[in-house]
């Protein structure tokens, strides 16, 4: 339990290598260079993926595989491994792996980064690249009976999808009723109150102990990437990010798209708009963490309904403020490329005093939550030292956000890869060393307090902002057409962790490839690590402490 002391400049002691040094390190593994706007890109042969990744990981310190993007070109398939460092996420490198058009096979990076498992399964599912050496290459988002790979070029949308009877056989019917075996197969979900939506956990139990749990996702795969790829940059994409993480994360998600697209199209956001964005985003973070607290308390013990009601009450207060600001309760659609859609509501004083009222009562209610929940003996028995996630494992799976900060890893993009107005403000990154369910909750609750600090400073700034300098939007061309073949990957710190967007422009007004790096997707992957060997109620607690939102997991 330690707040990161603000005076430890930890980003300075990580040696940064120039692209040429990296190229020298990789030697003849590099076939070509394909630089992205955010990072140098090295093209390698499809059978040297493991060697390249492990050299970058061990020799150059790139220990965070943020995202695997797959896409199809006219003449080839391509997987991109976006690597970062947990110590300094501004040091990035992309490993570009082209694969043959007729027979797209590429070596799997799973042996080097555990997190590549699900990312490559998704790439196989949606694009159709096959990964050699992958431990378990099958569909992840679409039903296993699906025919075709929907984001590949030759996908026929009109072809009917036919599922056969054997494909729909009851999984419990035969092979799990094995009299010889001591284990029991248990389905949790997809409709279950504790799964926070439509998640399916295939659990194998020995008595009350969990031997193996396998999350089965895809029950809410709403084709978000396809939606974004068929919308124009300027206005048509922005409504969708609100619907990735609906737990309150609306503006935080919009910022992810805004940041990537603004850097891609070289748009400068006015300072005033950045302050408004920062304030709105932190309000969203409070709403999201309140929801996490409410549902986690319910998951752990049904008697915590009071906590649920209290937390929802606080959420209502934030939502009222956000509604005043944006005009919407949940799906804000408030950001625009180059700023925000409108200024603070008039009369401004009223909005400021409402916000201040909220901030004034917040410490009291946080205190109340500590009394109700974290100081509660039952709650502590259920959460302390359960769902252990060691920091090395968390990093291996690419976990981010409160999950990794609850394991003591000091990683927050708001500070480490600053955007918006965060680096001008005074606040701290919260970490906890417990690595258990309890620390993850504590991180969230203390982040609420940090967010309140940020909002307060933003309100002060906005109140004194000279009236003739209140520019809310930069001049942005009516139609945006970023240059052909420019690629960018940018991430922000959303409520659940690192939310990144990869965009490839092809010279038109729509993105040619729009890939979402969802924090929940990576975080959920750690569940087996936390749950295997524990009792079944602890699985539910571990799942609740991950605070996943299925819309973001499945996209």
């Amino acid at each position: 339990m330690s707040l990161e002391a603000p005076d430890t400049p930890e980003t300075d002691d990580v040696p940064e290598r120039t692209p040429d040094e990296l190229e020298a390190l990789l030697g003849d593994l590099v076939v070509d260079r394909d630089d992205h706007l955010n990072a140098p890109g090295f093209v390698i042969r499809p059978d040297t993926v493991q060697e390249t990744l492990s050299r970058l990981k061990s020799a150059a310190g790139y220990d965070h595989l943020s995202l695997v993007t797959a896409q199809e070109y006219e003449n080839r398939y391509e997987s991109i491994y976006h690597l970062k460092k947990f110590d300094d996420p501004t040091q990035e490198v992309s490993v570009v792996v082209p694969a043959d058009k007729d027979r797209p096979v590429s070596e799997s990076g799973e042996a080097v980064f555990r997190t590549a498992d699900w990312h490559e399964r998704e790439a196989y599912d949606l694009i159709g690249i096959e990964y050699d050496d992958h431990p378990d290459l099958r569909r992840i988002l679409l039903p296993e009976t699906w025919q075709g790979h929907p984001l590949s070029m030759d996908y026929d949308r009109d072809r009917p999808q036919i599922a056969t009877l054997p494909a729909h056989a009851n999984p419990l019917e035969e092979h799990h009723l094995d009299a010889e075996s001591d284990t029991m197969f248990l389905n949790i979900g997809p409709h279950h109150p504790a799964t926070h939506g439509v998640l399916h956990l295939k659990t194998i139990l020995d008595g009350e102990q969990v031997i193996d749990v396998e999350p089965d996702i895809g029950y809410l795969h709403r084709c978000e990437e396809q939606m974004a790829q068929s919308g124009t940059y300027r206005h048509q994409i922005m409504p969708y990010p609100d619907r990735w993480d609906w737990g309150g994360g609306g503006l935080l998600n919009e910022w992810a798209y805004a940041r990537a697209a603004e850097d891609l199209a070289d748009i400068e956001v006015p300072e005033y708009a950045q302050v408004i964005r920062t304030m709105g985003a932190e309000m969203c973070r409070i709403a999201a963490h309140m929801l996490a607290l409410a549902t986690f308390a319910l998951d752990v013990n049904g008697d915590f309904t009071a906590t649920f009601m209290y937390a929802i009450n606080d959420r209502e207060r934030v939502q009222n403020l956000l509604e005043d600001l944006t005009g919407q309760r949940l799906m804000f659609n408030y950001f625009r490329l180059g700023g925000v859609v409108w200024d603070l509501p008039e009369p401004r004083e009223e909005f400021f005093s409402k916000t201040r009222d909220f901030l004034d009562q917040l410490p009291g209610s946080v205190e109340e939550y500590h009394d109700l929940v974290t100081a509660n003996e039952i709650f502590q028995m259920r959460t302390i030292d359960t769902g252990i996630l060691p920091p090395e494992v968390a990093k291996e799976y690419g976990a981010t956000g409160p999950v990794v900060r609850g394991s003591g890893v000091d990683y927050d993009l708001r500070r480490d890869d600053p955007y918006g107005y965060y680096d001008e403000l005074d606040w701290d990154v919260v970490t906890e060393d417990g690595c258990d369910n309890y620390s993850r909750l504590l991180v969230r609750m203390r982040e609420v307090e940090e967010s309140a600090k940020i909002i307060e400073q933003c309100v002060d700034l906005l109140e004194d902002w000279p009236e003739d300098e209140r520019t809310i939007q930069a001049n942005v061309p009516r139609t945006l057409r970023p240059d052909d073949d420019t690629e960018i990957y940018r991430a922000v710190e959303a409520a659940k962790g690192e939310l990144g967007i990869y965009i490839r422009a092809d010279g038109t007004d729509k993105p040619a490839r729009f890939k979402i790096r969802s924090p929940c997707f990576s975080n959920l992957q750690t569940l087996p690590e936390m749950a295997n060997g524990e009792y079944i109620p602890d699985v539910i607690a571990a799942l609740g402490s991950l605070d996943i939102v299925l819309g973001e997991v499945d996209r």
């Binding site: 679409l142 999808q161 009877l165 409709h191 396809q226 939606m227 619907r243 929802i312 799906m331 299925l550």
Partner: protein
């Protein structure tokens, strides 16, 4: 009062018979004319039905069922401030076997549709469905998605649609109260044969149906057909 006999015919006879049967023990007391009259009189029956409908409409058990974004607003509807329980319908049940109403709060995709149908089938009759949000009407903002079912009505019958993306809690309260009104006014649960099943194959005979589908399948083991491009 459409019974053949007047409600009270020969007063002495009726009263005597009842009293006699009481004094004499069982007799045909349990099949007395009075009971017969009560049982066959539509007037009394209608009242009783009305009473039951009123009970049913005033105490609806919801299925605790979250799918997508709308479920956040649904939670707010259940919780403080909006408090759906004021209207006698705010008790979420975790098991479909105990629920009367299912609120469908979100986008249905191909992988989830069969599961949702199964949950619906597990609910006891009479059962009602409130479709929440644009996704359950038409697929909403995700209508073009390769994986998205264009409206929940393709899977289960829906009684009330609440439009919005997402609807505000007030809108959901209005929708649920409308449903309660309809139930209290005697609306029964929909028939088991669903319109979506009839629409596509209309009045084809069973053999014709197989014939019609043979060009789409290899074996004769078809159980489900996802064809979202053609769906209405």
């Amino acid at each position: 009062m459409s019974s053949d006999q007047p409600f009270i015919t020969d007063e002495s006879r009726v009263v005597t018979e009842t009293r006699d049967s009481r004094m004499e023990g069982q007799g045909d007391r349990f099949n007395s004319r009075l009971r017969e009259a009560f049982g066959s009189s539509p007037f009394i029956l209608t009242k009783f039905d009305k009473f039951l409908n009123w009970c049913r409409g005033s105490s609806m058990f919801m299925l605790q069922f979250g799918i997508a974004c709308c479920s956040i607003e649904m939670m707010h509807t259940y919780a403080v401030k909006h408090d759906l329980d004021r209207f006698g319908s705010g008790v979420p049940r975790a098991s479909p076997r105990q629920a009367d109403v299912m609120i469908v709060p979100g986008t249905i995709v191909s992988k989830f549709a069969p599961r949702m149908k199964r949950v619906y089938d597990q609910m006891p009759e009479p059962k009602f469905v409130v479709g929440m949000g644009s996704c359950t009407i038409s697929g909403g903002p995700f209508q073009e998605g390769y994986n998205v079912i264009k409206g929940a009505e393709e899977v289960i019958p829906i009684d009330i649609h609440v439009p919005g993306c997402p609807p505000r809690p007030e809108a959901l309260v209005y929708g649920v109260v409308k449903l309660q009104e309809r139930v209290a006014n005697g609306e029964a649960a929909p028939v088991t044969v669903k319109p979506y099943e009839l629409e596509e194959f209309s009045d084809l005979e069973r053999d014709e149906l197989v014939e019609k589908l043979t060009d789409q399948i290899d074996e004769d083991e078809l159980v489900m057909r996802y064809n979202f491009a053609d769906s209405p």
